[in-house]
């Protein structure tokens, strides 16, 4: 009796419905397909991968266009390919002029991926220095990078600025906005703008000022780098290129009967009477061009930044260590102005 009931139950169990319970998940169907896998790769069966048949300049252009790609690996690879290609070819045979390459590559200064930025620096370093074209856009990107939120981008854009100063010191400091705006960026980065208000710890409106924000707890790597780059920048902007007396003598001898003939020639500078500002609109001191070291000095002093920098440097020197040493370098560069002023 019992066994037969058991058997009956077993037989019936195949046709029984599973009970659904309120609030519980529905049991899976027996014929359900598991879709929880993820594809590791997608294989395209037909894709032409042969690059051999194509013209090298086409490939070059293709890689140049890949710099604006969405995938960071692709950007990095394109940069690496370009680096190799440029080192292999000589500068005259490049399919695109270096200025065009620079134009395409400069947005990558603000790229989020570290490997792309480092590869970019490698590419820039091998570009021929004398054919870079106008540099104010690169400088804009660099300044944006220097004030970026992420410390990594800050560091790498300081590297770019180092390269720029090394490559074309004259044009960097004399291009539009290149001098004052870059200095202002440094000022805000180093938070040396305390001198503009009152020197004490009270701000202009009589409230307690904020404590100086400590950039990246513990490590002073960024600060040291900033100070070093600033030193280089100040030197580039303030030091007058050495005059070769011999050369001058030779030049004078060549056009002997003439004396002081430069004064009567067409001016070599653009807009020589610009400082008079006869018919222009109100001067925008920030984005102006300062072509002479004297002009730059004056702008540096009149904008009040000189005082702020001197004060900041003395503060920074007190920190000692690596920072102190770097600050001493800045102080030395500042000495150029202070001596004159």
């Amino acid at each position: 009796m019992g066994s037969s009931a058991k058997k009956k139950r077993e037989k019936k169990s195949d046709f029984k419905k599973t009970k659904l319970k309120v609030g519980k998940a529905r049991p899976k169907n027996t014929n359900a397909t598991d879709t929880s896998f993820a594809a590791k790769s997608i294989v395209l069966k037909q894709q032409s991968l042969s690059e051999s048949g194509r013209d090298p300049s086409t490939i070059f252009n293709h890689n140049l266009s890949l710099l604006a790609s969405k995938a960071d690996t692709q950007r990095r690879d394109a940069l690496a390919w370009l680096t190799n290609a440029i080192t292999a070819m000589n500068a005259a045979a490049l399919p695109q002029p270096p200025s065009a390459i620079l134009l395409k590559a400069q947005p990558l200064i603000l790229d989020g991926t570290a490997s792309v930025r480092s590869q970019l620096l490698k590419l820039l370093r091998i570009l021929p220095v004398d054919q870079l074209g106008p540099l104010d856009q690169v400088l804009l990107y660099t300044r944006a990078g220097m004030s970026h939120l992420s410390t990594d981008i800050k560091l790498s854009s300081l590297d770019i600025l180092d390269w720029l100063i090394e490559a074309q010191p004259e044009s960097i400091v004399s291009c539009a906005g290149g001098w004052v705006k870059t200095l202002e960026t440094f000022e805000t980065l180093l938070s040396w703008n305390g001198a503009k208000g009152t020197t004490g710890s009270l701000t202009g409106d009589g409230k307690w000022s904020a404590t100086k924000p400590t950039v990246s707890l513990g490590s002073s790597k960024l600060l040291v780098h900033q100070l070093n780059t600033l030193t280089a920048f100040l030197n580039a902007g303030l030091v007058r290129p050495e005059r070769d007396d011999n050369l001058l003598a030779i030049q004078a001898a060549e056009c002997w009967p003439l004396w002081h003939h430069q004064a009567h020639l067409m001016p070599t500078k653009s807009n020589p009477y610009g400082y008079l500002n006869l018919c222009g609109k109100k001067r925008d001191t920030e984005s102006d061009m300062y072509e002479d070291p004297e002009e730059r000095q004056e702008a540096f002093i009149t904008s009040g930044m000189c005082r702020a920098f001197v004060q900041g440097v003395t503060e920074a020197k007190k920190e000692g260590g690596e920072v102190g040493r770097a600050a001493a370098g800045v102080a030395k560069a500042l000495q150029l102005v202070v001596d004159v002023g």
């Binding site: 604006a68 804009l140 944006a144 004030s147 939120l149 805000t188 924000p213 513990g218």
Partner: protein, 765 residues
């Protein structure tokens, strides 16, 4: 240490986080803000150097930074003085080429700055308004319009911002006036209409903007302006009514309190209840506050005569038309002109001769022309101008040979014209037309009867003797009824005043002493009402949640409200009726009495109305007397007369502001032919949408829907009937096998439950 550092920096690197921290402590994060601001500036400069070729990532970054700065700019007002100007400049110069998302972000940022009071409304709207007119992008226009509208609404929310309104109104005005030929004026029309609808702009200046629009030289702008005058006020009323019903249906305070008593008490629920109570209180306050007096746009016009003349000359009868209007648009303009003429009783003689050439049955949408003509007739139009028109209508439309609907449209329009100027009719023509009441066609019949009853009222001597009817004939004989002469104005009186007078006489109340008492008595009554029951106090402190709101208290409220109601109605009717009195009702009682009594009565009425001010008590009594008089009038002997009176009352009480439509002209003839399938479907659909219409459903279905809409559940019977068959099976099986003791227990339990009132009992209710 190093791992932690990494994590911290990662957190630092996103803007929303920084934004949050900035808002908490702006002073400490000033340096970070300065960094981001300079970042924004360099990105903006990069963008400005090549606005069209900047890559996606640059634009995204710029957008993020704009968002960030606009959210935090109010913390550093000194540092960001240039920021709004930057945004304005960006939008101004590059709106056509900007990336759409960045563009919308810029607009949003400006609006945000306005909300944070960094810039003021005038500045914002001065930026957005020209942009709205300039931009070729449809999306941007929609966005800008919406932003402008919402900004105007918010700045008018607490109090009317007259300065801003005036500024924007003059901008709209200038837009239309400076270039009347451009279609850009449509934006001014749209904005004004929208704000009029929401009762934000309800002054004469807004109306003058629309007036200029109606007189402009672009067809779209013209129709926009004209449509505003024809439908703007109605739209406003509808919007207001919708708002009212929307709000009222929402909160049932009693239910909420009940729920709060039962449900678990949490802070959130308590808060919800409190906010609901506050909302109810606010609404109550709003309801009790004096209703905002809104003049219709047609009444706010500065110079209606000039406006009507100019509209007519520019758009309807121009020597050289500056704007080409299609027939439909012309009809709209004509409708407006005729409404202006009818409403303000203007004199515009060329208008009537203009109508003549359109008065043929072949003319498309001729009923609209007829309606306009009737609308433009009023008591100050010389009858000899209207008479040829009436004759023409009679000749063209009304004949035995013409179709039923044509004839009825003609008759209806003649009736409408004559209702406004009864002198436009000659006796021979009238007697001819009245004969059509014997027509086979129902529509024509009714129209002719309408004309007949109208002339029994206003000019019975034009009718043939046997058509005059008893009342009119008697009236003529005793000399009470005389045709009004041209330009004659009737005297206003209060309906049912003679009843009050008679009642006073019967009661023997001296008018002098009574007047004082009436006021006193009324005041005392209302005061005692308040003190005794104190229901106003309960309602007035809505902040405090009173859960123990018992049943009887609510009842008291209802009673008090019911008491208050009649007085309100009385005042209302007293305020409304003097202009639109019905001589019919006074005559209804008077005609039964001898002539001398009638004279006496009339003199007394005038004395009462002119010698004293009716107290609230008087008005309440008046209302009561009037309703009892209505009940006696419902007796079968007076039924016919009552019907007649109601008809004339309806005709005369049609508000002067209401337009006359083509549908009214075509009248019953609309139903005289067999409807097509589409029309039947349309009618059925309309009926189901309307309340009380025949929606072709069973009574049960309708009842059920009503119950459901009231939020009531089904009855137990219904539930029993609907219960799933399989669920009842088990019980039915067991039911037969119960033992006697089980049966007894069950029966006992049932009785017990009945006594208690359900399983849980009715205690909670």
């Amino acid at each position: 240490m190093k791992r932690k550092l990494g994590a911290l920096e990662k957190v630092d690197a996103d803007l929303p986080n920084l934004q949050h921290k900035l808002k908490i402590d702006p002073r400490s994060y000033e340096q970070d803000f300065v960094n981001q601001y300079s970042q924004y500036r360099s990105l903006k400069e990069l963008f400005l150097q090549s606005p069209t070729t900047t890559d996606d990532s640059g634009i995204v970054r710029l957008r993020d930074l704009v968002d960030f700065v606009s959210h935090t700019a109010d913390c550093y007002p000194k540092l960001t003085t240039a920021f709004p100007l930057d945004l304005v400049e960006l939008l101004d110069l590059h709106h056509a080429t900007l990336d759409p998302e960045l563009r919308d972000k810029l607009v949003g940022a400006l609006v945000l700055l306005r909300r944070k009071e960094t810039i003021d409304s005038v500045q914002l709207l001065d930026t957005l308004w020209p942009l709205l007119l300039k931009t070729p992008s449809k999306n941007l226009r929609a966005l800008l319009f919406q932003k402008i509208l919402s900004d105007l609404r918010t700045s008018n929310q607490k109090a009317t911002n007259h300065k801003l309104n005036r500024h924007i109104q003059s901008k709209c005005f200038e837009l239309i006036v400076s270039d009347p030929t451009s279609a850009k004026g449509l934006w001014a029309v749209k904005l004004t209409r929208e704000l009029w609808k929401r009762q934000i702009w309800s002054d004469a200046k807004a109306v003058s903007v629309m007036k200029e629009a109606a007189l402009s030289q672009d067809a779209k702008v013209v129709t926009g302006g004209v449509r505003f005058f024809l439908g703007g006020d109605q739209e406003r009323e509808e919007a207001a009514a919708e708002e009212d019903t929307d709000d009222e249906g929402n909160i049932d305070m009693g239910k909420l309190r009940h729920q709060a008593g039962i449900n678990k008490k949490t802070g959130k629920r308590a808060n919800e209840l409190r906010t609901a109570a506050a909302k109810v209180k606010r609404k109550e306050k709003k309801k009790n506050s004096p209703h905002q007096l809104n003049f219709s746009a047609l009444h706010l016009l500065h110079d209606p005569q000039g406006f009507a003349e100019e509209l007519f000359q520019r758009h309807l009868q121009p020597a050289q038309p500056k704007v080409r209007l299609v027939l439909e648009q012309k009809l709209l303009v004509l409708q407006l002109v005729s409404r202006l003429v009818g409403l303000h009783k203007l004199t515009l003689e060329p208008l009537y001769s203009y109508f003549i050439k359109f008065l043929t049955p072949k003319q498309p949408s001729v009923t609209s022309f007829l309606a306009s003509l009737a609308q433009s007739a009023h008591s100050l139009v010389p009858p000899d101008i209207l008479e040829p028109l009436v004759v023409k209508i009679a000749n063209e439309f009304v004949s035995e040979a013409s179709a039923g609907e044509v004839a009825s449209a003609g008759l209806n329009s003649i009736r409408e014209i004559c209702a406004r100027q009864s002198l436009a009719m000659s006796d021979t023509l009238l007697q001819d037309l009245v004969q059509y009441r014997k027509s086979k066609d129902k529509g024509v019949q009714m129209a002719a009867r309408g004309l007949l009853s109208l002339y029994r009222e206003v000019g019975a001597d034009l009718l043939r003797k046997r058509d005059r009817g008893r009342d009119a004939a008697m009236g003529l004989r005793i000399g009470e009824k005389q045709t009004a002469r041209f330009g004659e104005v009737g005297i206003g009186e209060i309906e049912g005043l003679e009843l009050l007078e008679k009642w006073k006489e019967e009661q023997g109340i001296d008018s002098e002493a009574d007047e004082e008492a009436g006021w006193n008595n009324w005041d005392a009554e209302s005061d005692s009402d308040d003190d005794g029951e104190g229901w106003i106090n309960v309602e007035s402190d809505g902040e405090e949640i009173d859960i123990s709101d018992s049943e009887d208290e609510r009842e008291k409220k209802a009673k008090a409200a019911a008491k208050a109601e009649p007085t309100f109605e009385a005042q209302q009717s007293a305020g409304n009726t003097p202009a639109a009195t019905t001589p019919a009702s006074s005559r209804a009682t008077a005609s039964l009495e001898p002539e001398a009594a009638l004279k006496r009565e009339e003199s007394r009425i005038s004395r009462l109305a002119t010698t004293r001010i009716l107290t609230p008590a008087d008005l309440a009594k008046l209302n009561e007397l009037r309703s009892t008089a209505a009940v006696t009038a419902a007796l079968p002997a007076t039924k016919r007369r009552k019907l007649l009176a109601a008809q004339t009352a309806a005709a005369s009480s049609r508000h002067a502001d209401d337009p006359l439509t083509a549908a009214q002209i075509s009248g019953l003839s609309a139903h005289s032919y067999k409807a097509t399938r589409q029309e039947k479907i349309a009618m059925a659909k309309e009926g189901s949408r309307e309340e009380g219409g025949n929606d072709h459903r069973s009574t049960t279905a309708r009842r059920k829907e009503k119950k459901e809409s009231e939020g009531k559940s089904t009855s137990n019977k219904e539930k029993e009937r609907k219960k799933n068959f399989l669920m009842t099976l088990g019980k039915a099986k067991r039911k037969g096998k119960r033992s006697l003791t089980q049966e007894r227990a069950i029966l006992k339990g049932h009785v017990e439950r009945r006594k208690r009132g359900g399983k849980r009992g009715n205690k909670g209710q």
